[in-house]
């Protein structure tokens, strides 16, 4: 239903005056750097990554809240990368986003009913009676039951979990096709998280909404999603069905992430494969494979050539040269880029520094 093709979000970084006078090129922060991803109706895809991976920017670009500087965004095969005005408003009606902090996303001076109803009035939908009905339904779908018990309350009278439910209700009141949820439970106590996750699963079931679930927590992604996409430094390095990706991860970064997930069972203490160092800056993405500076399995090819997405299973791809050995002889990965494209670009960016 929704598709990202080679999506890029690059931000210019401020130059020093000296650099500007010498006409040095403006350095770019490549927050999202060529992301391909699809989301079907009723599907839950988790976008997993650490801070600086570009997962949040990807979500914001999908919601048309971050400037798309390359590639394209399609909704039901319609290119919506550059639409504006009424078209964009119609798009927003179909693609909604909720954020991490339920304390900041609500207006403290307005009641729950007012907040949940607002998108309807902005979009000019429905007569008062119909609106009321839709607000009640959205609230009950979000687990605020009975709706009448919550409608006249103010945000400060609600717990964190209830506030996040209000945020979900105001996103769902427009009955969107796509919901982007950016770390929706990260601020909540563990005992309250399941309730929110259950609401999202219910919305998928009852309303057929497709959900892009953005999280830093692989175990949450594993719980709720159909597919997981792992992002590192602006690119999806591995994507696949949940079971396959967790049981047989193929990218060394995914393997490392899985190995360091702490387990509540003391008997499960894993052999941790801790990566040394830190994720590089998105304005200085390493040439070749962007992960090569931290990869425990790096070899010479990784330093110069950016690996394409190699298919490694049904709907499962990994952007790693080590996955290439499994490819049938002579076959090329369908999304393979020219081996020169990546490193050239990287060199361009690296040069001015």
């Amino acid at each position: 239903m929704i598709e990202l093709r080679g999506l890029r979000v690059h931000f210019p970084l401020r130059r020093s005056l000296g650099a500007a006078l010498r006409r040095r090129p403006v350095p770019q922060v490549r927050a999202v750097d060529g992301v391909d991803l699809t989301l079907s109706r009723g599907e839950i895809v988790a976008l997993v990554g650490e801070s600086g991976s570009g997962k949040t920017t990807t979500g914001r670009a999908l919601a048309r809240l971050a400037p798309i500087t390359g590639g394209s965004l399609l909704l039901e095969d319609q290119d919506v990368t550059a639409i504006g005005g009424a078209d964009l408003r119609a798009y927003r009606r179909r693609v909604q986003i909720i954020f991490q902090d339920p304390y900041e996303s609500l207006d403290p001076r307005r009641t729950v009913r007012e907040q949940v109803e607002e998108p309807l009035s902005v979009q000019g939908i429905g007569a008062p009676a119909e609106r009321r009905e839709r607000v009640d339904r959205a609230m009950e779908d979000a687990g605020l039951r009975p709706a009448a018990a919550f409608a006249d309350r103010y945000p400060h009278e609600l717990s964190g979990g209830q506030r996040q439910r209000v945020a979900i209700a105001s996103a769902m009141v427009l009955e969107p096709d796509v919901l982007i949820a950016d770390e929706p439970v990260s601020m909540l106590d563990v005992s309250l998280r399941s309730g929110i996750l259950r609401v999202m699963l219910g919305l998928r079931e009852k309303r057929g909404v497709g959900i892009l679930f953005i999280t830093h927590d692989l175990s949450l992604a594993w719980l709720i999603a159909d597919r997981i996409a792992v992002m590192y430094l602006g690119r999806i390095v591995e994507v696949g069905p949940v079971e396959a990706l967790v049981a047989s991860p193929r990218h060394p970064y995914t393997k490392a992430l899985l190995s360091v997930m702490p387990s509540p069972d003391p008997a499960h203490r894993r052999q941790r494969a801790i990566l040394r160092g830190e994720t590089p800056d998105a304005s200085r993405i390493p040439a070749g494979c962007r992960f090569h500076t931290r990869c425990p399995l790096v070899f010479d090819r990784c330093l110069t050539e950016d690996p394409p997405d190699f298919p490694v299973g049904d709907g499962h791809t990994a952007a790693c040269w080590l996955a290439e050995v499994d490819q049938p002889a002579g076959a090329r990965a369908p999304t393979a880029r020219s081996p020169l494209e990546g490193p050239q670009e990287a060199r361009e960016i690296a040069a001015p520094g």
């Binding site: 650490e50 801070s51 687990g143 605020l144 039951r145 009975p146 018990a149 919550f150 717990s159 979990g161 209830q162 439910r165 106590d189 563990v190 005992s191 309250l192 998280r193 399941s194 309730g195 996750l197 259950r198 609401v199 699963l201 219910g202 830093h216 927590d217 692989l218 175990s219 949450l220 594993w222 719980l223 709720i224 949940v242 967790v246 490392a256 992430l257 899985l258 360091v260 997930m261 702490p262 387990s263 509540p264 069972d265 003391p266 008997a267 499960h268 203490r269 941790r272 801790i274 990566l275 040394r276 830190e278 994720t279």
Partner: protein, 351 residues
Amino acid sequence: MNPALLEVQELVVEFHVQGTALRAVDGLSFDVGAGEAVGLVGESGCGKTTTALAIARLLPENGRIVSGSVRFDGEELTTLKRGPFRRRRWKDFSIIFQGAMNALNPVQRVGDQVVEPIRLHEPATTRRQAWKRVGELFEMVGISRDRRKEYPHQFSGGMRQRVMIAMALASRPRLVIGDEPTTALDVMVQAQILELLERLRRELGLALVLITHDLSVVAETCDRAVVMYAGQLAETGTVEQLHRRPLHPYTARLMGSVPDIGGVRRLPEGIPGQPPSILRPPSGCRFHPRCDHAMEVCAEMYPARRSFGPEHAVHCHAVSEEGRIQDPAALPLIPSARALAAHDPDAEGLA
């Protein structure tokens, strides 16, 4: 078990807010042996950070220890004079606070910020000696000694947290209390920091109190854990006991709320109802409004401590003499607990 290094007994801490005393910690007891790692676990508002502040005597002005005792190596800390106490807090134990890494002075070299407390507490140390010691401390926590001359903005969050750990180790304490030391960090950096704490424990024989909301982190790094709910002690035991045979319904529910990747993939049940309010804490056992084992007595009386073996103890009326959570069907449940047992997990109206 080793003889206790830190002993907290019947600790009660209150905050005065607009003329009302709010009880944030209500009769907490636990101890930590030399070289032992103990997790203090609970959700927001359970009093775990307040406990750390009380031990360190760093409570805000409106907070005070009402009763109870905190002993370090047998010596009572709550009544110790300010000077001797501060020496203890530096030499014998130190604390790493949540978000402390963001408290570094942005315009002072990182190394100098570690030199300062060393020289303040040990006036006989020369600047040169202290600078050298900072170099050793940095290497110990995995920072190159060349970085002493850098400023905080040149350090990532994980590296700043290492600086805080170096500072906490400056006086070779026997106990370090870490209040959510990895909460703001990415998983990979968290793993690096936890690995570092484990290594330091091994190499220095350090005892550790790890305060966290994350049961998985406790299971990975601690020997024992103390589970708190709304200021009260719910249960304490080894991490294995708490995982395999939790006795308190809250511990069981909390354990069941944590997804274990690679285990059985199903949505955890979570805990129904709302977290307790410190303004109007429930009577008796504070967990009773959310407990599907609650009986009348639970609303009336905080259950006494009952021990099952040397390390496992619980405060719960629903635990049988043999040390089992009794089947709710066999208990005289109050109506709200019966409703909880059959509740619609999606409805928030229960609160």
